[in-house]
Amino acid sequence: MDWTIWVEWIIKSILLILILLGGFAYLTLFERKVLARIQVRIGPNRTGPWGLLQPIADAVKLIFKEELTPAQAYKIIFVLAPIITVVPAIVVAAVIPWGQVVSIFGREVTLYIADLNVGLLYVTAITSIAIYGITLAGWSSNNKYALLGGLRASAQMISYELALGFSFVTAIILAGSMRMIDIVEAQRAVYYLQLGNFQIPIPMWNAIIQPVGAFIFLIATLAEVNRAPFDMPEAEQELTAGYHAEYSGMKFALFFMAEYIKMIVISAIAVVLFFGGYLGPDITKLPLIGQYLTWLAPWMGPVYMFIKIVALLFVMVWVRATLPRIRYDRLMLLGWKVLLPLTLALAFISAVGVLLAQDVNPALIWLIPVVSMGAGFVTIGLVDRSLRRKAYAAR
């Protein structure tokens, strides 16, 4: 193998890690700012203009904090747990395509590190490892609250992994491949909706064809990264801080980092699977300036990815600002009794729809959104009825 390819991989990996770490730092600021504005506050604004240096101040504070280890903790695992949590979060990002091929100094460089033909399988495999870190952190702290937080985390993540996996399956069926790039390229088609004289372009993203699958994916990712309203493992009012109650200083920062990097990565995966990945409007077709921008066109992939990821991250923060934490039994109920059967049904509907579109008529692809939205609303109705009956019986 050519040695330059090794250099290229190393440089790309380091760049990706740096981007993820920088993204983590500024995601915390972004979240605090958005939360503040939703709560009609200003948010951090003391460090630098608009509080832009706040992440650096936080980092300096955390580095100089005392590292405490509980006397009865299992030391080796206690130290290892944050690392086990943070590494998978970063490693997952290896298969995410940020764009196609660009040329730097005449060399063709792909904007992804690994091009696995089972990319999605890799993602599910690696995200599952992160559970070990959290559970072991809770257990090795030798603290009741931390243990409960760790147990809750593992139970919750395993439950929602299933719904997540089946919404992966819907995207896989629609693309016919587990390779991330194939999944993105399958969403390249644009459907022109004729409305009188106007043509409205609708990108054939998986979120358009399978809206319920995308919605469930977003719900399941919230549970997967332990974000509100599914932040049971670190429920502050019940468990003080859950699995990281005994951690301080940089060890705590690693858990924090893992959570936010997971947010970024899982948003990136959501973008790839359901929101058209690095695809976006073709800038070479812009009027007037378009023809001079051909050199820029390959570089627009990361830009579109970035815009979409920020939009999804905003949705995560927005949901956190809106919804209260749900009860633990209802969380389990939602995962096992609602989302799992519904995603199974969605996988079935997608498969049948794809078959019909291939063999009978391509327009039949539109059966998928219609039928799956029907299934989604029926599910909502059933859950609503069941909850109302319970409320009536309790009276």
Binding site: A36, R37, I38, R41, W318, V319, T322, I380, G381, L382
Partner: protein, 173 residues
């Protein structure tokens, strides 16, 4: 069966927070730079008032110390002379100390004062780093002199400031 309503309810909640983000201005007051004016009857740090001619209103009667439920005030009186006059009448407060760690800002001292000398002011930014500093003395509590007036003690002509408690109207506030 309610199919769409629960979904609409969810969206209503999300739209409420989004509306806050887009339409509402932050209500935060950037404290050290901008301060909210206090209410008219706010009870902050005490101020010892002066007359327009610069003489202190306090006559050292110690009624405030007697009224103080927290026993925070200590007053010691001394004699005025026309050559060294601090306040109208016979006596003035040579020592006036309030222990801010004991004070509960009830305002009874203000009510007890016959000359309206002690008033609870607007200042709420009280901080000290040891107990010694918590005892505010007369120099700190006294109001600043009006412009162009010499400080106390003043030399005054005999027989002018014989009345220690001035004639007053009934309080309005």
């Amino acid at each position: 069966m309610r199919l769409v309503e629960p979904f609409i309810e969810l969206m209503t909640g999300l739209m409420t927070t989004l509306k806050m983000l887009v339409t509402e201005k932050p209500v935060t007051i950037q404290y050290p730079e901008e301060k909210k004016p206090v209410k008219p009857r706010f009870r902050g740090r005490h101020v010892l008032k002066r007359y327009d001619n610069g003489l202190e209103k306090c006559i050292g009667c110690a009624l405030c110390a007697a009224a103080c439920p927290a026993d925070a005030i200590f007053v010691e009186a001394a004699e005025n002379t026309d050559a060294q006059r601090y306040s109208p009448g016979d006596r003035y407060a040579s020592t006036y100390e309030i222990n801010m760690l004991r004070c509960i800002y009830c305002g009874y001292c203000e009510d007890a004062c016959p000359t309206e000398a002690i008033v609870l002011g607007d200042n709420y930014e009280l901080s000290f780093t040891n107990r010694r500093q918590a005892i505010y003395d007369k120099a700190l509590l006294l109001e600043a002199l009006p412009a162009g007036i010499q400080t106390t003690p003043q030399v005054t002509e005999p027989g002018k400031f014989t009345r220690s408690v001035p004639e007053m109207k009934d309080p309005q506030d």
